[in-house]
């Protein structure tokens, strides 16, 4: 029997080549970071940056104490904000459902034409934040709640559409096959084989998006699309910091409540 008499003195985790590649990768990342930092801060006025703590303290002291008497005035804008989020979510979900069925590999009528279009709608809607949609819509159809609702709806299509089409693609093919075997028509296969399987995902996604939309609709007013953001913009313009505090606290409270509602609804579904 031969015995192994010498072992390597050092133990290494990876092959030398892989290690080299890894270190080059990290070095490149660091270099890229430094270069980006250089470019980004080219025009930064550092005096402002060093002055920031003093500014922060100044703003902080102005924000206190919050002007609580401002609260009643905020109730109507808050109601508007809730409506923007809810109606926008409903409209967005209604538009997202057909897009999702066109985008899912197992339900799309044509992989060549309709599926790419549906995927483009999804990616376009996802890439563009609701605030940008609102900016555009305020310019197009004028300031107000409608612009906000449409903005929220347009942004929701991509989010709901993407998650829903993934859920459709993950459905159990055997259940669908079984319905097909009974001689069911295409629409019947959809309503018996696919829809029951994606229902929980559908409600979960919708409520989840509603929660995000509440958060997003609080700031749409900054560009004139209605809701509590309008009050925030107005208060910031006249530097009424105590009012800003009240608005922020109210937004925070709303967000926490909506998150709780959405989490408990999702738990109830599952």
């Amino acid at each position: 029997m031969t015995e192994i008499t010498h072992y390597r003195q050092t133990w290494t985790h990876r092959t030398p080549r892989a290690r080299l590649l890894l270190w080059t990768g990290w070095a490149a990342l660091v270099a890229l970071f430094l270069w980006c930092w250089q470019v980004m801060t080219e025009n930064t006025i550092w005096a402002f940056v060093w002055d920031a703590p003093r500014q922060a303290a100044d703003i902080g002291s102005r924000m206190m104490p919050p002007r609580l008497s401002y609260l009643p005035e905020l109730m109507v804008p808050l109601w508007d904000t809730l409506n923007i989020a809810t109606l926008g979510t409903i409209a967005g979900v209604i538009m997202a459902v057909p897009v999702a069925f066109l985008a899912a590999r197992n339900t799309t009528p044509s992989t060549r034409l309709l599926r790419p279009i549906a995927l483009f709608i999804i990616v376009a809607s996802r890439s563009i934040n609701s605030l940008i949609w609102a900016l555009l819509l305020v310019a197009i159809i004028g300031p107000g709640l409608l612009a906000g609702i449409v903005a929220i709806a347009l942004r929701s299509i991509g989010f709901v559409g993407k998650l829903l089409y993934e859920a459709i693609e993950e459905t159990d093919a055997r259940q669908i096959e079984a319905i097909e075997a009974t001689g069911a028509s295409a629409t019947q296969v959809l309503s018996y084989g696919i829809v029951p399987q994606i229902m929980p995902a559908f409600w979960g996604i919708s409520v989840f998006r509603w929660d995000i939309n509440i958060r997003e609709s609080t700031i749409l007013g900054l560009v004139g699309a209605g809701g509590i953001g309008l009050k925030l913009q107005a208060s910031l313009n006249v530097l009424a910091w105590p009012q800003v505090t009240v608005i922020l606290l109210l937004i925070l409270g709303t967000v926490v409540v909506s998150e709780w509602v959405s989490a408990s609804v999702r738990k109830a579904i599952i």
């Binding site: 470019v39 980004m40 930064t44 006025i45 940056v49 500014q55 809810t86 004028g142 922020l248």
Partner: protein, 268 residues
């Protein structure tokens, strides 16, 4: 077969709300809300019909984008956005790791846990745009405020997911490492890091994508980047330039999505 008679009707039993009265109340409530909510939307149809013409111009601008006439502004905004995205993601990830570990109940002592969790909660509850407003007021206009905003937002996102991940790690593996007499640092290095590392990389790439999209938004409140350019273009009713900017954003997001899924496959 027996001659028993069977019922000829069948109703699907209600799945969620079993009580009929509650069901009706719920439906009425939803209906009432929808009526009230729709009623609160005041639409100036005249303004909308005027706007439709502009909408048409916007769609035309989207179909025939103009990249050239504002190319200087666009490229400056793009460079700001991209550099801001990368630096803020790197810094955000670096800061999230210690905060994420601190916010994991199975690794951190209680007082650190509460501090880290509250940092996460504040970062998550506040919109990027609102943070940007404050940071612009403190640090002046420009991409530096944007960089800080995105870094802060990254912390809330990554640290939370990281902490939740660490809390869910396989206790058996941690136990085995602990049994060898390892120190806390060794425990993190050997038991925690290998388990959460792939997901951390995936989440960082995902956050890179989000940060780019957000960088287009916070420019609207003065934090630099492509958003500022877009805002100007829309204010000037230059819809063909605006269309070009939006197409660039969509294109970069698509590239980032494909790139990150490719990179994730490569790293695994």
């Amino acid at each position: 077969m027996s001659d028993k008679t069977y019922p000829t009707t069948w109703r699907r039993p209600p799945q969620i709300v079993a009580d009929r009265r509650w069901r009706i109340a719920l439906q009425l409530g939803i209906l009432a809300y929808l009526v009230l909510a729709m009623g609160s939307v005041e639409v100036d149809w005249q303004r909308v019909s005027v706007g439709l013409e502009r909408g048409q111009r916007f769609i035309m601008g989207f179909l025939q984008p103009d990249f050239t006439s504002r190319w200087n502004d666009i490229s400056r905004g793009l460079v700001e956005s991209l550099t801001m995205t990368l630096t803020s993601t790197v810094v955000g990830v670096l800061v999230s790791v210690p905060i994420g570990i601190g916010a994991a109940r199975n690794l951190a002592p209680a007082w650190i846990y509460y501090i880290c969790r509250s940092i996460i909660a504040v970062s998550r509850a506040l919109q990027e745009v609102i943070i940007a407003i404050f940071l612009v007021a403190m640090f002046g206009f420009g991409p530096f405020a944007g960089f800080l905003t995105l870094s802060f937002a990254t912390i809330g996102f990554l640290a939370k997911l990281l902490a939740d991940d660490i809390e869910e790690i396989d206790e058996a593996q941690a136990e085995a490492i602990r049994a060898t007499g390892a120190s806390w640092w060794q425990l993190v290095n050997y038991a925690v890091q290998p388990q959460v590392m792939p997901r951390l990389i995936g989440l960082s790439l995902y956050r890179l994508d989000i940060n780019f999209r957000e960088s287009a938004v916070i420019g609207i409140v003065g934090a630099g980047g492509i958003g500022a350019t877009l805002n100007t273009a829309i204010d000037r009713y230059e819809y063909d330039s605006a269309g070009a900017i939006l197409l660039i954003i969509i294109g970069i997001v698509m590239i980032a999505e494909y790139g990150s899924s490719y990179l994730r496959k490569f790293l695994q």
